[in-house]
């Protein structure tokens, strides 16, 4: 097994009492001393600091970078204004999702953030297909500050951060060098993701943690927070076998890229994806509320009745939601069974337990729009 990489904040995690686990080729903090439940609730009540430096930061530069990226991603990139960011997916020829990503227009270039486990493949994919320069950013860490106090905390260090709206991006000069800030995240909370030079990253993280409202948060709580927010985890809820329509990610397909739009199609798998936009896909990602207290974890088979022999779907993420105080899951079911309120059964340890299709997110997001 290849040696695990460490982020620039590794020593800080260990000093903070993190339990480190292998994740996407990195040693990452799964939790700190407080534990997953308290870390989750702290993020929703105050502010949580996450090290997401394992994710891939890539700059795309060139006159036609936006147009080029549209050949791989069904999002509207040409229509993305400077200082704004958008969610998108890389698709394959069958319409499946190769990875999901954030795309920011930072004036003279595009800045994309991709998943850690996919970054090598994504970079190779972009280099092979994009007629623009593809520059991995190796000298920057990436932190996320999430929660209702995030604005006040970051605003105390970088006043202009407080004036940003959800999905705004900007560069701010600070005591920690130039920060590339976006007002976004992966928790359903208001907050920021901040790219900082490696040499300044520990000092910046310590300055944020010095604020009594901020606690360090590990991958465990990151997962329960994003699940309550109804956000997909690549590799679990979306993968090369799921299309954006099946995954209920139609919002990531720009109007201009849809049938009848100014730049309709032109991305891998467009034929299938645009057809599914018109007619619907045979299956759909939905929220699931198990009855009782037992979590229905990823891999749980879903059945239409207590005795049916053939499963109709599968749970792709499932856990206890500390803020909603009950088990929650996401999974795929036939579109005919995707209406909220539909009663199904999930098989847990050999027993069929009732589960109900539910609206996503489980907890409303609090973005500063």
């Amino acid at each position: 097994m290849p040696e695990l990489e460490r982020t620039i904040l590794d020593a800080l995690h260990r000093d903070l009492g993190a339990r480190m686990v292998p994740f996407a080729g990195y040693e990452m903090p799964v939790q700190y001393a407080a534990g997953v439940m308290k870390e989750h609730l702290h993020t929703r009540a105050r502010a949580g600091l996450f090290d997401v430096s394992h994710m891939g930061q890539v700059i795309l530069r060139g006159d036609d970078a936006a147009k080029a990226l549209e050949t791989l991603v069904p999002a509207d990139i040409c229509g993305l204004k400077p200082g704004r960011q958008r969610y998108g997916v890389f698709t394959n020829a069958e319409g499946g999702i190769v990875d999901d990503l954030m795309i920011a227009h930072r004036g003279d270039h595009l800045f994309v953030v991709v998943n850690a486990a996919c970054k090598a493949g994504d970079i190779a994919h972009m280099r092979a297909h994009l007629d623009c320069s593809v520059e991995p950013v190796e000298d920057r860490a990436l932190l996320a500050l999430q929660g209702p106090d995030a604005e006040a905390v970051l605003g105390a260090l970088v006043p202009e951060a407080a004036t940003m709206r959800f999905m705004d991006v900007r560069t701010a000069d600070s005591d920690f060098g130039a920060l590339w800030i976006s007002r976004s995240g992966y928790t359903g909370e208001d907050g920021y993701e901040i790219s900082v030079q490696n040499g300044r990253a520990i000092a910046f993280a310590q300055a944020l943690l010095a604020d009594g409202r901020v606690a360090p948060i590990g991958l465990g709580a990151r997962d329960s927070l994003r699940l309550e927010a109804g956000l997909c985890l690549y590799g679990n809820d979306i993968d090369a076998e799921t299309t954006p329509v099946e995954a209920a990610l139609e919002f990531s397909i720009g109007k201009a890229r849809r049938t009848g739009g100014a730049r309709a199609g032109g991305f891998p798998g467009a034929e299938r994806i645009l057809r599914e936009m018109e007619t619907g896909a045979p299956r759909r990602r939905v929220g699931l509320l198990p009855e009782g207290r037992a979590p229905m974890r990823a891999g749980t088979c879903l059945y239409e009745t207590e005795t049916a022999e053939t499963p109709v779907g599968t749970v792709t993420s499932g856990a206890y939601g500390p803020s909603v105080e009950r088990p929650i899951s996401m999974g795929y079911v036939p579109t005919t069974m995707a209406a909220p309120g539909t009663a199904l059964f999930g098989e847990v340890r050999g027993r069929r337990l009732p589960v109900t299709v539910a609206e996503l997110p489980f907890r409303p997001s609090t973005y500063k729009r």
């Binding site: 439940m37 465990g220 037992a294 206890y320 088990p327």
Partner: protein, 119 residues
Amino acid sequence: MKFTEDHEWLRAEGDVFVVGVTEYAAEQLGDVVFVELPEEGVTVKKDDEIVVIESVKVASDIKAPVDGTIVAVNDKLGDAPALVNEDPLGEGWFFKMRIDDPAAIEGFMDEAAYREMIA
């Protein structure tokens, strides 16, 4: 009190034994959100998986430490699974069992030996 290598404890209470998990195990499990207990009256064999614990992170099984009969289970855990974290050696117990052969627990560790194992 006796301890097993699986981080369970057994405490004599009259002619039965109360069984739970240690503080160390509760810490390793993380916040417990669901506990599935055996039925009272069932007979169990050593190493049968008779309790399921779901934490925020993962599902784990607790095995019967010895052969015997379950005579009581801790119903409080249904509504308050966090008792396993808050008071693993007290209120967070799982079940009481009557042991078939009292000699079966003689091989288990005392507290000093258990502390040494987890040190």
